[in-house]
C-alpha cells in the first residue's frame, strides 16, 4: 500500500488567446463562471481516497457567490464545512476501485473592486502589543514564507519612510521586479527563499515571497487563493483558459489586497476562494489515497465572463 498526498498547485494565469467575443464597456462588477477540473490518473485501481477540496468561492463585500457545486467522479460521500480560515471545504471519500479521480468545481460569482479602505495606520500602531497579538499568526514566518535577513534589509531600505499602505505596494512591486514568471521552475513544495534565489516562480512562489517580506516588515499578511480572468477586455460568453491564482493581502488598518504576479489591484477579474498563512492552508485540493502510484494529473480552469 502506498499512501500518497495528492495536491495541485497554483501556477497563475497563462497567456491568453485572441479575443473572439463581443466587446463590452468595462464595468466595475463582473459576473464570472469558473469551471475548475482536476483529473488524477493512477497506475492501477485505487481502493480508497480521502480528499478535501477548497474550491468554493467566498462571499464578501467584494464578491457574491451565486452558484457553486463540486462534482466528484467516481461517486463519493461529501461533507462540507467551513474551516478555521473561513474557507468552504468539500470533504469527500470514495472507496470503489477507481483508476481516475475527477473533481470538478463550477461556480458563478459576481466580483468587483476592493471596497474603500479606512485610512492607513502608522508603523507605531502596527507595533502595539494589541496588533501583534491579534495578528500574530499572520505576522510570524511559516516554512513556506520565511525570508532571509539580507533580503529583508534590502526591502527595508527600499521602503524607507513610506507609510504601511505604500510599503505594501512597494514590496509587491519589488518582488515582481525581481522574479520572473516561469512555469515549471518551481514545484508545490518550493519555499519562498528557494524561489527567490532562482529568481523564478509562479504566482504561488511570488505570493509566498511577498507575504514573507510583508511580514518581516511588520505588516500582517495573508496568502489568497483564487482565480483570475486573464483578459481585462474579455468578451461576454467566451470561455477562456485560466488557472488557479494566488495573490496577497496585508493589514494596514484594513486588509489591502494586491496581485504581485501581475502588479495589479484586486478587481472584478479576481475570484477569491480563501486565505491563510500560506498555500498549505488553502490548497484547492489535497488528500491521500491508498493504491498504486499516481501516473499524473491534469488541471484545467476555464473562466467565462457572463455579464
Amino acid at each position: 500500500m502506498i499512501v500518497v498526498p495528492q495536491s495541485q498547485r497554483q501556477t497563475g494565469p497563462t497567456q491568453f488567446h485572441a479575443q473572439t467575443g463581443p466587446v463590452r464597456v468595462p464595468s466595475d462588477r463582473w459576473r464570472l463562471q469558473v469551471v475548475h477540473r482536476s483529473e488524477f490518473r493512477y497506475g492501477g485501481p485505487v481502493r480508497s481516497s480521502y480528499n478535501e477540496a477548497r474550491m468554493t468561492p467566498e462571499n464578501s463585500s467584494r464578491q457574491t457567490t451565486l452558484r457553486s457545486r463540486v462534482e466528484i467522479e467516481p461517486t463519493a460521500t461529501v461533507h462540507a464545512y467551513r474551516d478555521y480560515w473561513g474557507s468552504t471545504v468539500t470533504a469527500f471519500d470514495t472507496h470503489g476501485p477507481h483508476t481516475e479521480l475527477v473533481v470538478q468545481a463550477t461556480s458563478v460569482v459576481e466580483a468587483g473592486p476592493e471596497p474603500e479602505l479606512p485610512d492607513p495606520v502608522d508603523w507605531a500602531e502596527l507595533a502595539t502589543p494589541d496588533v501583534l497579538d491579534r495578528f500574530g499568526e499572520v505576522l510570524r514566518p511559516t516554512p513556506l514564507t520565511a525570508m532571509d535577513a539580507p533580503v529583508v534589509q534590502d526591502v527595508r531600505e527600499l521602503v524607507g519612510d513610506a507609510d504601511p499602505r505604500e510599503a505594501g505596494q512597494l514590496v509587491c512591486r519589488f518582488v515582481h521586479g525581481h522574479m520572473e514568471y516561469l512555469t515549471g521552475s518551481t514545484n508545490v513544495k518550493t519555499n519562498a527563499m528557494q524561489a527567490w534565489t532562482t529568481g523564478k516562480g509562479v504566482c504561488q512562489d511570488i505570493s509566498h515571497v511577498s507575504v514573507g517580506l510583508l511580514r518581516a516588515l511588520g505588516l500582517p499578511a495573508r496568502y489568497v487563493s483564487g482565480y483570475l480572468h486573464p483578459r481585462p477586455s474579455a468578451g461576454i460568453g467566451t470561455a477562456v483558459t485560466g488557472e488557479s491564482h494566488a495573490w496577497v493581502e496585508w493589514w494596514d488598518g484594513g486588509w489591502s489586497g494586491f496581485d504581485p504576479t501581475n502588479v495589479a489591484e484586486i478587481g472584478p477579474r479576481h475570484v477569491t476562494l480563501g486565505r491563510g498563512r500560506d498555500y498549505s492552508d488553502v490548497p484547492p485540493l489535497k488528500g491521500i489515497f491508498s493504491g498504486p502510484r499516481s501516473e499524473g494529473s491534469t488541471v484545467t480552469v476555464e473562466v467565462t465572463r457572463l455579464a
Partner: protein
C-alpha cells in the same frame, strides 16, 4: 529489633506520614500501628512477594527504551477524607474551567476578545490544531479523561504542577497497585476503610457512552492503541478488557462515507466512540501527518459531521501547555467566577524583558521547564544543576524565552519508602484522574502517587525511573473509634470483628467488618488474576486484535 519507623529522618519538607518523629498524622495512625512492629526484613520479604506478583502480572513501563517492571513501593500513601475533598473539588473545578477554555478556543474565542489570555499563547502552541476548529462534540465534553499533577509544598498545601488533558497514562497502575497490595498486605485492608478504585473502568465507559452521537441508542466504544510497542500498551489492554470494549489498532478501523467501522470476523461493525490513546499528529493522515499508518484516515471529518466521537478530543494540548498553565487561575475566575481551590506553583512567564533578566540572574534558584516538554524531559532544577548545565540553559533561555517557564522550587513532600530493607523518606507527587461524563466531573479516589526512588531526586515522572505507591483515600473512622483516647489502645481492644456491623448512613466505603473486608479483598484479588490473564491475552497474535484483518492491508 528496631521498630520499622524508628530513626526515620524528617527534613525541611512536609512528610506525608509523620508530623514529628514517631508521631504519625491522623490518616496514618492505623498504618503506623500495623507496620511499626514489623522489622525491615519482614517488610522487605513482603515487598519481594509484591514485586514478584507484579512481575508475574507483567506490569511494566518503558524507561529509556526498555520495558522494566514498574516498582511499587510497599508503604501506601494515605490521604484523609477531608483533605481528599479539597483535591476532588479543586480538580473538578480545574477540569470544568479547562473544558470551557477549549470550547472557547475552538469556537468563538471570547477569552481572547476579553483579553484574558493573549491569542498568541494559543496560536503559537504546537498543540493548537486549527483542523479541530468548529468541531463541537456531541455532549460538549473534550476532556473525557484528565490527570492533574499535584505536589504538596512545605506548608502541606497541594499545588498543581501540570494538567494532562491529552492521553494521561498511569491509571492502570492505580488499579493494579491496589489489587497487588490487597494480596500482599491483606491485614491492612481489613483495618482500613479505603475508597475503592476498581470502578474506574465502569465510570470511564459510562462517560464515553454518554459522549456518543445522540442518535445512537446503544453506542459501541473502542479503545484505539498505537500497538504493542507503545509504552502504555499494558494500560490500553487492561482498560479495554475491564471496560469490555474492543482494543483496536488503526488498521482495524475504516472510515467510509463519514462512518467509522471496525473490521470483525463477522464483518464490519459501526463504531460510535473512539477512546484513542494515540497522539493527534498520528490520528488522521488526512489532516495531520500523512505518513501515519497507525491512525484512521477520515476520522476527524467523521467527528466533525457528528458521526463518531473522538475521546479525548483533538487539540486538547493547547490547554495543557506549560505556558497556558500560568493562566489557569485566571481561567477559573473568568469562566466559573470562582477562586481557585488548588493553587499553581509560583510560576513566572518569560514574556517581559525584566522577568527574563531576573530569571537569567536566578537560574540557580529556579526550576526551568520547557513549554513543550513532557515526561520530565528538559527540566532543569537550578539548585541541583552544575555550572555548565546552567550556562547552556542561559543560552537557550536567552535565545527563546517564550519556550520556557520558571518556577520557584517546591520542596516536594516526602513519604516513607522501603529502600534496601530500610524505611527512608522519598519525594512523591500525586496524579488524580478525573472523568467527565458531561454532567459531572468524577475524580478517582486516590490517583497515582509517583515516588522518586533515588535519594533526594525531585523528578518523579514514571518515564524518568520513578516508582509508585498505592494511594488510599480513607473514610472517616467510626464514632466509637474516634472517641477512643489512644489509637494503640483502640487497636488492641477492638478487633475488627467487634466493630458495629451497620455502617453509618451515607458511608461511601466498605463497612469495616471482616466478612465484607475479605470479600472486598477477594474481588480485588480475583480482578488482579484476571488482569494478568488479560495481559497474556493481549500478546501479539494471541487475542482478538490478531483476528481483525491483520495482514489484509489497511485502507488508510
Amino acid at each position: 529489633m528496631a521498630d520499622l519507623f524508628d530513626g526515620y529522618p524528617l527534613g525541611q519538607q512536609w512528610d506525608e506520614m509523620f508530623a514529628a518523629p514517631g508521631r504519625p498524622r491522623a490518616p496514618y495512625s492505623g498504618l503506623f500501628t500495623s507496620l511499626q512492629p514489623m522489622s525491615g526484613e519482614e517488610l522487605a520479604a513482603r515487598a519481594d512477594v509484591l514485586s514478584q506478583t507484579y512481575r508475574d502480572a507483567g506490569v511494566t513501563f518503558a524507561h529509556a527504551g526498555e520495558e522494566q517492571p514498574f516498582p511499587l513501593d510497599i508503604v501506601p500513601r494515605v490521604i484523609g477524607h477531608q483533605e481528599w475533598a479539597v483535591i476532588e473539588r479543586g480538580v473538578g473545578q480545574r477540569v470544568r474551567a479547562l473544558e470551557a477554555f477549549l470550547a472557547d478556543v475552538y469556537g468563538a474565542g471570547q477569552v481572547f476578545a476579553d483579553r484574558v489570555v493573549p491569542r498568541s499563547v494559543v496560536t503559537t502552541s504546537a498543540h493548537f490544531h486549527r483542523a479541530a476548529h468548529g468541531l463541537v462534540p456531541p455532549n460538549g465534553v473534550r476532556v473525557h479523561v484528565s490527570g492533574i499533577d499535584l505536589v504538596r509544598d512545605e506548608a502541606g498545601d497541594f499545588r498543581v504542577l501540570e494538567d494532562n488533558l491529552r492521553s494521561p497514562s498511569g491509571v492502570s497502575y492505580v488499579i493494579t497497585n491496589r489489587a497487588a497490595m490487597s494480596q500482599v498486605l491483606p491485614e491492612l485492608f481489613a483495618d482500613h476503610r479505603i475508597l475503592p478504585v476498581a470502578d474506574y473502568p465502569g465510570r470511564l465507559l459510562a462517560a464515553l457512552k454518554a459522549s456518543a452521537p445522540p442518535s445512537v441508542a446503544d453506542p459501541t466504544v473502542v479503545l484505539l492503541t498505537p500497538g504493542v510497542y507503545n509504552s502504555a500498551y499494558f494500560e490500553h489492554a487492561l482498560l479495554a478488557r475491564q471496560m469490555g470494549v474492543e482494543l483496536v489498532e488503526g488498521r482495524d478501523l475504516v472510515c467510509s462515507g463519514g462512518q467509522v467501522s471496525m473490521r470483525t470476523t463477522d464483518g464490519q461493525q459501526r463504531v460510535d466512540v473512539i477512546y484513542r490513546r494515540i497522539d493527534d499528529e498520528f490520528l488522521d493522515p488526512v489532516h495531520f501527518r500523512s505518513d501515519s499508518v497507525i491512525g484512521c484516515a477520515g476520522v476527524l471529518n467523521a467527528a466533525r459531521a457528528g458521526r463518531v466521537t473522538i475521546a479525548n478530543a483533538v487539540g486538547n494540548g493547547v490547554a495543557d501547555d506549560k505556558l497556558l498553565y500560568t493562566w489557569v487561575p485566571d481561567l477559573i475566575q473568568y469562566y466559573l467566577g470562582e477562586q481557585p481551590i488548588l493553587q499553581n506553583a509560583d510560576t513566572y512567564r518569560l514574556d517581559e524583558p525584566d522577568t527574563v533578566e531576573w530569571v537569567l540572574a536566578s537560574l540557580d534558584q529556579l526550576v526551568l521547564k520547557p513549554v513543550d516538554g513532557s515526561g520530565g524531559k528538559g527540566i532543569v532544577i537550578g539548585p541541583r544543576a552544575d555550572e555548565r548545565t546552567l550556562e547552556e540553559l542561559a543560552v537557550k533561555v536567552r535565545s527563546s524565552p517564550r519556550d520556557w517557564i520558571a518556577q520557584k522550587p517546591i520542596g516536594l513532600s516526602t513519604s516513607p519508602t522501603l529502600i534496601n530493607g530500610r524505611i527512608a523518606p522519598r519525594h512523591v507527587d500525586l496524579r488524580p484522574f478525573a472523568v467527565n461524563d458531561g454532567d459531572d466531573v468524577w475524580v478517582l479516589p486516590g490517583g497515582l502517587t509517583r515516588v522518586a526512588l533515588p535519594e533526594g531526586e525531585l523528578v518523579v515522572n514514571s518515564s524518568q525511573g520513578g516508582g509508585s505507591k498505592d494511594t488510599w483515600v480513607i473514610t472517616p473512622p467510626r464514632p466509637a473509634v474516634e472517641s477512643a483516647p489512644e489509637h494503640e489502645v483502640t487497636r488492641i481492644e477492638f478487633t475488627t470483628a467487634d466493630l458495629p456491623a451497620d455502617p453509618p448512613a451515607q458511608d461511601p466505603g466498605p463497612p469495616n467488618d471482616n466478612a465484607v473486608a475479605q470479600s472486598q479483598q477477594q474481588q480485588q484479588t480475583a480482578m488482579f488474576a484476571n488482569m494478568a490473564a488479560g495481559r497474556r491475552r493481549a500478546e501479539p497474535g494471541d487475542g482478538h486484535v490478531g483476528e481483525h484483518g491483520r495482514g489484509e492491508g489497511a485502507p488508510c
